[in-house]
């Protein structure tokens, strides 16, 4: 090779020494890459997370409305009080319900997308699902307040279809009913399902896409009817996708505090509780203690769902 150096090479020589130094020390180079993001994450994210959990052990004086750093488990124990337990149960049951129904609704859509359309049509579907997913959360919530209001769109449809008595009957049901559509449990339920549905559709669709067509052909070759193939071959293999999607629906519902305020009957969710506790009341320890609930529940849920293969389907 030509030994004489071009001016470019002379300039680059010093820089190259440094680069070659890094080339021979992959560990050092790795550290160099990782330190800035890890520093940010470690210090800012993890640090504040731990600090919050630690706060849960602080005492809140009801009289003076101040926080003192005396350690106590009072806040954690208070989580088991009937009022608080009520909140937790309400939130968790909604989260589970929403997850289940989202899966039920999402499956046909995902199935159709994965198995029956290709090319431009599939791209269209994909974008059509992605857009509402990424559309502003607050805009979607706002849209539903308009939809559900008296004099709003749904009301109008129900009147013109003569289904008003049905609505009144449903609203009088305990648990899911309410005074109006927008202050009913079922209203809140539908808003949740609406907002998280795309998060459920896409993982299921991805899981179904990965299904080799030869498996379905083998099933048919062995004599299975379509519904049997669906039940014995397709559905079990879609389960990781469903589990992955449920991670989103479960944890997002668990921590939401805006939708419970906007739609539905009065009654705190974990989210609102946390918000109100740290807000006007200033009881940060209690708020922190409450956040422990979703953290623990999500951790438990994740470990359950991991065994179903959800992590591979994300």
């Amino acid at each position: 090779m030509d030994i004489s150096m071009t001016p470019y090479e002379k300039r680059a020589r010093r820089g190259r020494a440094l680069i070659t130094f890094l080339h021979h020390r992959p560990g050092f180079y790795l550290a160099l890459l990782l330190v800035p993001p890890l520093l940010w994450f470690g210090a800012i994210y993890l640090g504040s997370l731990f600090a919050l959990l630690w706060q849960g052990l602080y005492t809140f004086d009801d009289f003076t409305m101040t926080v003192s750093s005396t350690l106590t488990t009072a806040n954690l124990r208070a989580l088991f009080d009937p009022v608080n337990a009520d909140i937790i149960i309400r939130t968790v049951s909604m989260a589970l319900l929403v997850s289940f129904f989202s899966a039920v609704l999402a499956f046909p859509i995902a199935y159709y997308m994965a198995r029956y359309i290709t090319g431009k049509k599939k791209a269209f579907f994909y974008v059509a699902i992605m857009l509402p997913m990424w559309a502003s959360y607050i805009v979607k919530a706002y849209a539903w307040t308009l939809l559900l209001s008296k004099g709003g769109v749904l009301q109008w449809f129900l009147e013109h279809l003569g289904l008003e008595p049905l609505l009144t009957a449903m609203l009088s049901l305990p648990g899911i009913g309410g005074n109006t559509l927008s202050t009913s449990g079922i209203g809140r339920f539908w808003v949740f399902v609406y907002i998280w549905l795309p998060f459920m559709i896409l993982p299921i669709q991805a899981a179904l896409e990965r299904l080799p067509p030869s498996l379905i052909q083998a099933s048919e070759d062995l004599g299975a009817k379509p519904w049997q193939t669906l039940r014995y071959v397709i559905f079990p293999l879609a389960v990781p996708g469903i589990a992955a999607g449920s991670i989103f629906t479960f944890s997002l519902t668990l921590g939401d505090y805006i939708i419970p305020q906007l739609v539905g009957p009065p009654g705190y969710y974990i989210g609102n509780m946390v918000y109100s506790q740290q807000g006007s009341i200033g009881n940060m320890p209690m708020a922190a203690a409450f956040t422990l609930v979703p953290i623990v529940l999500i951790a438990v849920y994740l470990s359950m769902v991991k065994r179903l293969g959800a992590f591979d389907a994300l």
């Binding site: 090779m1 090479e9 070659t20 080339h23 021979h24």
Partner: protein, 340 residues
């Protein structure tokens, strides 16, 4: 001075010895092949020369200089990769000119030299295309041009013909051999295809389990294999272990005999100088230029015989499966193998 020297080189991954105490001298200007099955260490050795792997012990010298500490971009060695590794976002010309660009050669000059390199592999007309629009054979030649434009003293080729179909592969083998002779530089060629290695190389190193079993010219490798592995990997061979050899020929020690050196006759011959073994004919495979016979010996062992289907075939006796036959060969057609 040898172009590349391996001095007691080992490369160990955890428990496995990918390269186990290998020492070779590759001479300047020779076409040297590294042959072996997958996982035998040949590719690892190539990558050690290029600088993509670090050795665990020993040293590698390129033109007498210690190369162990040098990064890949500091070595006067260029590689043609198995998957060609053409940069998809650059045109063919930019790909070929890349090595010149990163060394600071001016645009005008490097484009001229790149074009020359492309013309040499008859692909000048593809200069403005992106690699995705080339056929496999064309990509392979672009990869070659890209490596050669840098005028390396050693060219490394990592199973470059593996993805090509048979006819194209044979054509490329001839072209590569011719190119190497014209350029006069050292080619180090890795392959698992023994006929490829034999047809192109000045010398071949046969790898097995991280070690080199034999380094020799193709002719020597074929006619005088040193171990059972080499005998069976380079061409096909009947390996007779020590007991069998004693039983059939009266000589101790493992030996190999090539199928094409054995003749089949229906009756024993009246010739005591040749080895004669009675067997039952088990299977007959017609292979175009030759016919392959599978024999079962008295002790149940298998013997393979290959006879050419030439004009005299019509005069040959036609054998049938199940028929008892006699296999005959010359004593000195057998090669004594190293034990173990």
């Amino acid at each position: 001075m040898p172009a590349v020297q391996f001095i007691n080189v080992s490369r160990i991954f955890g428990e496995t010895k990918a390269v186990d105490n290998v020492s070779i001298d590759i001479q300047d200007g020779e076409f040297f092949s590294m042959l072996g099955p997958s996982g035998s260490g040949k590719t690892t050795c190539l990558r050690l020369i290029a600088g993509f792997e670090t050795l665990s012990s020993g040293s590698i010298r390129i033109h007498g200089k210690e190369a162990t500490k040098l990064a890949p971009y500091e070595r006067d060695v260029n590689t043609v990769f198995q998957d060609y590794a053409l940069f998809p976002h650059m045109t063919v010309l930019e790909n070929v000119a890349y090595g010149l660009m990163v060394k600071g050669v001016g645009k005008k000059e490097r484009n001229i030299r790149a074009m020359e390199a492309l013309e040499r592999v008859a692909l000048g007309f593809t200069a403005a295309r992106k690699p995705a629009f080339l056929s496999g054979g064309q990509r392979q030649r672009v990869a070659l041009a890209r490596a050669l434009v840098n005028q390396p003293s050693v060219l490394l080729l990592d199973e470059p013909l593996g993805a090509l179909d048979l006819k194209l592969r044979e054509q490329m083998q001839g072209e590569l051999k011719k190119l190497q002779r014209e350029l006069g530089i050292t080619f180090i060629f890795v392959t698992h295809d023994q006929s490829e290695a034999l047809s192109m190389s000045d010398r071949v190193a046969v790898f097995n389990n991280g070690r080199i079993e034999q380094v020799d010219s193709p002719r020597e490798l074929y006619l005088n294999p040193r171990t059972a592995f080499v005998a069976q990997f380079v061409g096909t061979a009947n390996v007779l272990n020590s007991d069998l050899s004693l039983r059939l020929t009266g000589l101790a020690g493992s030996r190999s005999i090539r199928p094409e050196h054995i003749r089949l006759t229906p009756q024993p011959q009246a010739d005591s100088s040749i080895v004669q073994v009675s067997a039952i004919l088990k299977d007959i495979h017609f292979q175009g230029a030759a016919t392959r016979y599978e024999l079962a010996l008295d002790g149940g062992e298998r013997l393979f015989v290959s006879e050419p289907n030439n004009l005299a075939a019509s005069l040959q006796t036609h054998f049938q499966t199940g028929q008892p036959v006699v296999a005959c060969w010359n004593r000195d057609a057998m090669v004594a193998l190293l034990e173990g």
